[in-house]
Amino acid sequence: MYYNEEFETLPRPALEALQLKRLQAALERVYAHVPFYRNAFNTAGIKPGDVKSLNDLERLPFTTKQNMRDSYPYGLFAVPMEEIVRIHASSGTTGKPTVVGYTRKDIDVWSELMARSFVSAGAGKGDIIHNAYGYGLFTGGLGAHYGAERLGASVIPISGGNTKRQIMIMQDFGSTVLTCTPSYALFMAEEAKVEGINFKDLRLKVGIFGAEPWSEAMRGEIEAKLNLDAIDIYGLSEIMGPGVAIECIEAKCGLHIWEDHFIPEIINPDTGQRVAEGERGELVITTITKQGIPLIRYRTRDITSITYEPCLCGRTHARISRMSGRSDDMLIIRGVNVFPSQIEAILIGIEGVEPHYLLVVDRLENLDTLEVHVEIDEQIFSDEVKILQRLAKRIEKEIKDKLGITCSARLVEPKTIQRSEGKATRVIDNRKL
């Protein structure tokens, strides 16, 4: 089943011709309207007109998250604000978020790609979609919502949290499709068990899970516990939001990236050179139809591989493999992106706290946990328990307030956090993904 059969099954020569045409137009647009790109192209000694084939894309400079930060908030927008109808943002390392803007057409394309994604996952018009992705600045909730409406399905905009109520609604409203993070799906399964509810008695048939890395083992667990087909979806706000790529239910083997709107490349993160098909590397995406904030060769920092082999679902779009990590130190904790440097900035801001810290990430009962270890030196040490406990609470509260992550602060003895050649180990990730 397809949502847009013509484009989803476009023979590759036609697909690539369309990509080139759209790429050339996108390059002209950013060169004309985004000073950052005009400067970058001039520095690289290339003009939009020099790109005569898809391979020429390699001659263009990359765009990084840092470039987006430097252009905060609207510097990379390619259209006047009157044409922007929606603004989303994701967290950034310096406390300032990364901002993206969408024109009406961008929302339209996103809705279509999300609708295609739903169909690829096995959902259709008659489904009741239980959308437990967070609604707000985060793109998950609204992205899935618009796609579900475009598809013509019935969407329940439940957003995240209040798990008991979620389960009651799934049961009473007869939800057939669940969209949320994979760890939240497993958490729901545990809650349902406590409530004495068996997922076999619910009508759920498909779950579309993303916004954090997961594994085949987790898929097996989710499918067994929730009694549904678990489908992996990929997206990032810089590029669009959810629905950049998704698995098909027929193969469940790699995520089709919608190549009529995005050009994927896989590079060696150290050299910046493209790697061979099937080889692991960092995913780089060029948006070729986006109007609000088109990005050329955006370095996602996500590690994957790509294949152009035909898929048994009949879609001609390339497939990327499950994300297996990051080429930077970003952590994804319960779907929230965090850089260790953000936590460091908060700790340094608390009087007396030394910047000797360690982040221990784990997954307990299917929920990510973050423990922040902080060394106690004489400046902050007290003979009174309540003063130290107050300090721990303050660290927890500031991290919660500024980054939106619940953590537990743990005070440790000085010099117990390992120091190695200049650069300490700041993160221990015990999650088995």
Partner: protein, 143 residues
Amino acid sequence: MKVEQISIFIENKSGRLAEISRILSESGINIRALSLADTSDFGILRLIVNDVEKAKSVLKGCGFTVNKTEVVAVEVLDRPGGLSHILNVLDSKHINVEYMYAFGERSGGNAVIVFRFDDTDKAIETLTGSGVHILEGERLYSM
């Protein structure tokens, strides 16, 4: 009138107390009184020792976080109501006890209790004014 106490931060993991007592014993330091406050994650060991400066420097040298605090050693009559009297005197002046623990030795037949107050000077003034006997640091370290 005040007594110097050292406090040491310890994580809740095995062997930390043993390590501290080993360091002190190797330096010939005698522990006169101690109390351990513990939470699920960490503990604070408070000690009265015969040589405060030496204890502090050897523990710091071994990587421990050590602080010095002033506490008050109060003689308490060893009979029903002895402690109650002292606490009532303090309460009437709104002085809070942060924590307290008993001293091992007796002083002239009386018990000795180490107090940490929120307002140490006011506590000393109040107690001496009520005829309660407070022990000097020098006396306590050598008891």
